[in-house]
């Protein structure tokens, strides 16, 4: 469903992503962990079609994102770390725009908006201007817009930032249920416990390279064999002194 094949991306002389090879299967919930500047956002932006790899290919549903960008983005729902919303539109108008861009017909748009506004508890304020929303409300609207067209792949950059505990629970349930229903979920996060709790597989990225790739049970085996916590293992794997290129700038 998602495939990175020897993908490299540089910022000037800094290598942000270094020969990354990774495949995420349909229905899998994959979490990409890593410290700041590890290359997570660059990886995700290449997956969303915003950045092009310097070498290698990124494909979604068998489509090369750089070559068949429209086909690839059509199969994607994307929640960036700093999302954009039209402040002068109402939540409903924003969702309508996204749905129409994805080619949904009028009936499907109405049904989709009703379904997602219910799921994300947006119903009460869907007809108010986005500029009046709180951060959490905006974040929920962005999630709703990302899954509105029932994409095959959901890509999320730092999904829990700024959410209250109830919204965090909502998002976690959403990701698990969508993955269970066949949607491929690719998320980056700083929150180790979230990854441990909901991800099927975890990748730990540092200095643009994957330092760990395995299932949660692989990780738990690793943890028990080393008699350490996830946090300690993460710090060990992402030890900056061992990887001086880790501070490559993010765009």
């Amino acid at each position: 469903m998602i495939e990175f094949d020897e993908v490299t991306r540089k910022y000037g002389r800094n290598v942000a992503v270094d020969r990354l090879s990774l495949a995420v299967r349909p229905g899998e919930l994959f979490a990409l962990l890593g410290p700041n500047g590890a290359g997570k956002t660059t990886t995700i932006k290449m997956l969303a079609g915003l950045l092009r790899p310097d070498s290698g290919t990124v494909s979604v549903c068998g489509r090369d994102v750089a070559e068949d960008t429209r086909l690839a983005t059509r199969a994607l729902g994307y929640v960036p770390d700093e999302a954009f919303l039209y402040e002068k539109l109402s939540g409903r108008e924003f969702l309508e725009f996204v749905a129409e861009m994805h080619g949904m017909d009028r009936a499907a748009v109405s049904a989709g908006i009703a379904r997602e506004s219910e799921s994300f508890r947006l119903t009460g304020f869907l007809d108010r201007l986005v500029e009046t929303y709180s951060h959490g409300m905006k974040q929920r609207l962005i999630f709703a817009s990302a899954v509105l067209h029932s994409p095959a792949v959901l890509v999320i950059d730092e999904p829990m930032v700024g959410l209250d505990p109830r919204s965090v629970r909502m998002v976690k349930d959403l990701l698990v249920s969508r993955a269970a229903a066949g949607m491929t979920v690719f998320m980056s996060t700083h929150t180790l416990t979230v990854a441990e709790e909901i991800a099927d597989r975890i990748g730990i990225l540092n200095g643009g390279r994957l330092h760990f790739l395995g299932t949660v049970s692989d990780l738990q085996e690793e943890l028990s064999s080393r008699d350490t916590s996830l946090e300690s293992l993460f710090l060990e794997l992402t030890d900056r002194s061992a990887n001086p290129t880790a501070d490559a700038p993010s765009p």
């Binding site: 950045l51 092009r52 059509r74 129409e100 029932s150």
Partner: protein, 601 residues
């Protein structure tokens, strides 16, 4: 809309879905419709907001625009009427109008190309909206067209505001037929598209081929353009040997304007098409309109084609450049400020240095003012070329006061755009400031001191330059410097006081804060203040000067009462401007202090 899409709202239906939907994308027409609907909704929402929550500002903008439009229309009707009365020969008159139109549209073409390029750079490569739109399955061409049309509108509204009264006035004076008026809009729109598309293509190519060096290249292009414009102005206005506005001067000027009438310039097609329509030669006019539209469509297609090929790679290349590693250092300018303000409390000095650093590290903030200051300084340096100083002393005095007003108005935009939002921006950082051993009043005093320092130095320097070049007497020069001090004190007081009284604490963008109700009120009050101060000092000074030279001096010397009255008016005007300056400084500051003390963090 495509109806063959098989979207299923239930999650269960997603199971096993491993390939993207095979149905077709939105047709280009449907895609365009979706974008137009988005634009319409945004426009309606913005208008509704403008008329419900920013009514004063909106009304002011509409009224002032109307006044400006009508004023320009009247001015052009009067001007073209004078030309009609003064130049009886139809060919000469045509030649003159053609030269004026040609020059106006040629200069405009250059400015439109540059401004649309800059606007498109911001909206295509720097806006968060584009990052969002590029993740949608929209055609790159459509995304580009969406932003291109916005850029055309944003870069050309000034042309519409200035050009429409001129062209309508010409039609009225020349007794043009109905189709002249009907063709105005198509002519203007087709014309605007050409430089806008050229600007767009240049912008795309620069970012694609030089993603790292675009700033230097843009500065170089801007510098070259500025030099060309200044050279053109200099060449046109200062070359003629005859006295200003005499027939020989006029004939030579027309000869020098001929370079703007090259047959391959779209500006020539526009002016020729409109002049032919006004002369009732409709077939020639339609031909020029067809040439303009054909070229506009070609340029538009060229821009769209270029965007389709290189926009995404250019976007990726621009966002993939290495971040600057230059470390900010304490510059000599910071040390200079600390040295110059040694008499102020240490806390105030530290905050002033902080504000100066923020200001100078954001070129967007100061570059436009540098351009305006530079152009004004250039004009003042070349003021002798316009031979004002050889004319009547009263006129020289009037020009010097007009220069003072222009500098004052520039200062008012500076204080409104940069000083007014400062308190709002500090308000957002209250959690930091409240933890510091700092009295709230200190913040206001610091902003006031910063505003005076930032406005008085350039204001005084510019006026000194203007007065020296005009060979103004030392007494009037001293009076102008005093007026500068009064103006800067009042403008700073208004901006800081209203900034503290009407802050926008939830707004992050200084330009939006300045464009809000408080900023608009500050600008209006500042403008009224400048007009009042300049009138209070300029009018008595003007009559006083006139009364002491030429025939008037002989007449006045026989009227001691009138002499006394003129002297009294001069002193009273100066005293009145000083009093007004004190009021404009103290009253807003007091209001600001009171409001700022009550402000909750």
């Amino acid at each position: 809309m495509t109806d063959d899409l098989t979207f299923n709202p239930t999650i269960e239906s997603l199971a096993g879905w491993t390939s993207p939907p095979s149905s077709e994308f939105l047709s280009p027409q449907d895609e365009a419709r979706v974008f137009w609907r988005l634009r319409r909704r945004l426009a309606v929402s913005a208008l509704r907001h403008a008329f419900s929550r920013a009514r004063l500002r909106t009304t002011l903008i509409i009224v002032l625009s109307l006044v400006l439009w009508l004023g320009l229309f009247w001015l052009f009707v009067y001007g073209f009427g004078l030309v009609k009365i003064g130049i009886h020969d139809l060919e000469t008159r045509d030649h003159m109008v053609r030269a004026v139109f040609g020059m106006f549209f040629a200069a405009l073409m250059l400015m439109l190309a540059f401004s649309s390029g800059i606007i498109l750079y911001g909206s295509l490569f720097r806006s968060r909206e584009l990052s969002f739109l590029l993740t949608m399955p929209a055609r790159v061409e459509r995304v580009f067209i969406h932003k291109f049309q916005e850029a055309v509108l944003l870069s050309s509204w000034g042309f519409m505001l200035l050009g429409s009264p001129m062209l309508l006035a010409y039609g009225v004076v020349a007794d043009a037929p109905w189709y002249y008026y009907a063709m105005l809009l198509p002519f203007m729109v087709a014309f605007v598209y050409i430089p806008a598309a050229v600007g767009a293509v240049v912008c795309l190519l620069i970012v694609y081929y030089l993603p790292g060096g675009r700033t230097h290249l843009l500065i170089a292009i801007a510098a070259v353009l500025a030099v060309v414009l200044v050279w053109c102005g200099w060449y046109v206005l200062t070359g003629p040997e005859g006295h200003l506005l005499t027939p020989s001067w006029f004939r030579e000027l027309l000869g020098r304007l001929e370079f703007s009438e090259r047959r391959l310039l779209p500006s020539w097609w526009l002016s020729s098409g409109l002049l032919e329509a006004a002369r009732k030669v409709w077939s020639e006019s339609v031909l020029f309109l067809a040439v303009l539209i054909a070229n506009a469509l070609f340029c538009r297609q060229l821009a769209i084609g270029t965007a389709a090929r290189i926009f995404r790679p250019a976007f990726s290349a621009l966002h993939g450049r290495q971040a600057s590693r230059k470390r900010p250092q304490a510059a000599w300018i910071d040390r200079g400020l600390q040295g110059m303000t040694f008499f102020l409390p240490r806390q105030v000095r530290l905050m002033m240095v902080k504000d100066l650093r923020i200001f100078r590290r954001d070129p967007v903030q100061w570059s436009q003012f540098l351009i305006f200051f530079g152009l004004l300084a250039l004009y003042f340096c070349n003021i002798r070329g316009l031979q004002y100083d050889t004319y009547h002393v009263g006129w020289v005095n009037m020009v010097s006061f007009l220069n003072l007003s222009v500098v004052g108005l520039l200062m008012s935009t500076f204080t409104t755009r940069f000083i007014f939002p400062m308190i709002s921006l500090e308000g957002r950082r209250f959690w930091v400031l409240d933890l510091l051993p700092l009295r709230r009043e200190t913040i206001i005093w610091e902003k006031f001191a910063f505003a005076i320092g930032g406005s008085l130095l350039p204001c005084s320097a510019l006026i000194l330059l203007s007065d020296v070049m005009l060979r103004i007497s030392p007494l009037i020069l001293a009076g102008h410097q005093l007026t500068c001090v009064v103006l800067c004190l009042g403008l700073s007081g208004i901006a800081v006081g209203l900034g503290a009284r009407l802050p926008s604490l939830h707004e992050e963008s200084p330009s939006r804060i300045a464009a809000g109700f408080g900023g608009t009120l500050s600008l209006v009050l500042s403008t009224l203040y400048i007009v009042a101060v300049v009138l209070l000092t300029a009018l008595p000074s003007h009559f006083y000067m006139v009364a002491h030279y030429g025939d008037a001096a002989r007449f006045i010397s026989q009227k001691p009462a009138l002499q006394w009255w003129l002297r009294f008016w001069l002193i009273a005007g100066t005293a009145g401007s000083l009093l007004l300056g004190v009021l404009a400084t103290v009253v807003p500051l007091r209001i600001g202090f009171r409001a700022f003390r009550r402000l909750e963090s």
